[in-house]
Symmetry: C2
Subunit: 382 residues, 2 copies
DNA sequence: GGGCCGAGGTGTTACGTATAACGTCGAGGC
DNA sequence: GCCTCGACGTTATACGTAACACCTCGGCCC
């Protein structure tokens, strides 16, 4: 057994130790080749045991196979050498990595940053990691998530808005969880959706109750299932009311672009819309700016609704009436679904509820007889 | 890497999961064990060459060692089998991973999301990947970045604001690039800073020119080098002007907290400040809300400045006078520095310039004789 | 015809880990 | 005295890849 390793034991004050002024911040301990990271074998040598024992102890599988004393020795030596397992080797050996890829359009959109946060929190609790691939913009021409995410992966969670990357993902054969995507679409092992259409119906109901009949719908110029659903739901809700109409305008998803688009639409010939339904708080903020510059008061002259309930929604004035999306929860459920799939369990089928939050940017249609329609209820949910 | 590879698959094509009618989108080709991901050896067998040749061809190192015809064959077979190299194995073999860890407080802060974007863009161009560890909040108790980032790493880029994780990072011995941190602090292989103090001086100069003398400074309740620098720079700039004074208030970094703090400070007994200098646009937005609710007009009655130049700065009204920080560039330079260190080259010493952007939230001090002080120049830089 | 060369490969190894399969050794049982 | 048996480890692989060293063979020079 442990052949009392002590190489210089009898030598007493041998020169061995004097030769180590060690400027090294990371202490490479005893017999370890200097400069290199210690391996489990180095720990084994230093502790006087075999590499297998080190692996057992540090992997916490030693009970009944290694004596507690030896286990302690191993742990101490590992610590003092600054040993950290080589994850590449471990992943290779194990055949999996406990790492998931999250594919989103861009982390600079608060919604997706929050999705990430939720996913990462759940992952962390289950010993998983999450790496992000923000798909098209800002990252350059690489349309292949795998070329970019250098890490070896166990599975993928993808927003349906990151369309260009999806085909590569499908072909990879990795377990795929789709976020907010068409339920008809096959090919995902699981799916986490938001009740987007219901959110739009809540918005439409709120505005219709306030007496609005002429609507402007500001939508992003993005081909995505989510936005099609919104347009259809709005058209259906408004179309069900006689005399009500909606006009849709599309453009880039920025405050300034929305301001310009709203300016054009609000100064166009013909009767002006009295309410603007926006597919995002960012757009709504732009609309409010356009309105103010045209001398229109929000909500007295024009009602504006957002979507997402970003931090922005309560930073601007008036605070935006919007639809709160449980972004973190989307990430959490997505991760849970992926974990279930990897475990061979059936993932839960999720459609997360969304909620209208009435704030200050919506009010009765201009010219309404006071009291004839229910007024807004600022902060009703807030 | 592969899906959680059923460990030994003892029964061969066992009954384990009858639940797989899976019309596999990835064609497992010819002699490949079904269900498993093809390896380079599978490709070799199918192409009638050795594994070494496959490695050479796919690694693009075949010129002069393999005939073009053979190379084509190999590539075709690889494609038709749906082969993708096992990154864990490659990383193990190569001894590095071409993956960097970015440690930031939270990706939901636009600044850090943009830092990530910049770092990821540079990484991508150099065949590197970036994984994120958002340190303290929202992620739970794990203070060890390495426990969370499952990927094997080559180096680390860390924001100085992510303090709790730093000690673990230092001990790891991995090359470390610090962002916006104390130059006195040793222990980083490189550093990328912003000319924060200069930004504060620009703000102070602008406001002093406008005649302001009583300042409120809204700072986050975070112990961080950056914020200390700002406080000192502001105190120095204001202190240099006779009769000028600054009072500092600290609080959480949110719109609402800032609104409340500003409300308290603006209604406190004694002469009211005429300008509020905020350490972030988020805080400035809160101050504007507080001002409006107190019946104070911005900028006529109160000037407000932000910091960061987030999207928020132009979404609110009035648009914020603020200091533009080149967030993406911070990420880019950070990644470049790390690449340099990994290459054994000397990293560039960076201090990125910042720029005051004068918009609508600042104006002459109330009661100033018109024309006696230079007016604001809205959009002068914008 | 021997030697040499380059083109076109192949055999083999090592990376660091986790784990299955296999010792060894002293104490008891019979 | 032999066998068994648990406690405590060890030996020996295998994971998939990259790359070094080696091999073969036809052509060509002298």
């Amino acid at each position: 057994m442990a052949d009392g390793q002590r190489p210089p034991a009898p030598g007493g004050g041998g020169p061995r130790h004097a030769t180590a002024p060690e400027p090294e911040p990371a202490p490479p301990g005893d017999g370890v080749p200097p400069g290199a990271r210690p391996t489990s074998r180095d720990v084994a040598r230093a502790a006087g045991v075999s590499q297998a024992t080190v692996s057992l102890v540090l992997g916490d599988k030693w009970r009944g196979r290694v004596s507690p004393g030896t286990a302690d020795t191993v742990r101490d030596t590992a610590r003092s050498l600054g040993y950290r397992p080589n994850l590449a080797a471990r992943n290779l050996r194990l055949g999996h990595t406990r790492t998931a890829l999250l594919v989103v359009p861009a982390l600079t959109h608060e919604f997706f940053a929050r999705v990430y946060t939720g996913a990462a929190a759940v992952a962390e609790r289950h010993g998983f990691g999450v790496v992000v691939y923000p798909s098209p913009d800002g990252i350059g021409p690489a349309k292949d998530p795998f070329a970019s995410a250098r890490a070896a992966l166990d599975g993928v969670i993808a927003s349906s808005m990151a369309t260009d990357a999806l085909t590569a993902l499908r072909a990879s054969g990795l377990p795929l969880v789709m976020l907010d995507s068409d339920p008809e679409d096959r090919g995902a092992a699981a799916r986490v959706n938001l009740a987007i259409a219901d959110g739009v119906r809540q918005v439409a109901g709120h505005l219709l109750d306030l007496g609005h009949r002429r609507y402007l719908h500001l939508a992003p110029a993005i081909d995505s299932w989510t936005f099609e659903v919104r347009a259809r739901a709005l058209a259906a809700a408004v179309g069900a009311v006689p005399g009500a109409s909606v006009r849709t305008v599309r453009g880039p998803f920025t405050v300034d672009a929305a301001r310009e688009a709203a300016h054009r639409a609000l100064t166009a010939p013909g009767p002006r819309p009295t309410a603007v339904v926006c597919d995002g708080d960012t757009l709504a903020a732009g609309v409010c700016k356009a309105a103010r510059r045209l001398g229109l008061r929000v909500p007295e002259d024009l009602s504006v609704t957002g979507f997402d309930d970003l931090a922005l929604a309560t930073a601007v004035e008036p605070e935006l009436t919007t639809v709160r999306l449980p972004a973190e929860q989307v990430g959490e459920r997505g991760m849970h679904a992926l974990l279930a799939v990897l475990d061979g369990r059936a993932p839960a089928r999720d459609e997360l509820p969304v909620q209208l939050v009435v704030r200050e940017s919506t009010g009765p249609v201009p010219g309404a007889v006071p009291g004839s329609v229910p007024g807004p209820v600022p902060g009703s949910v807030r």
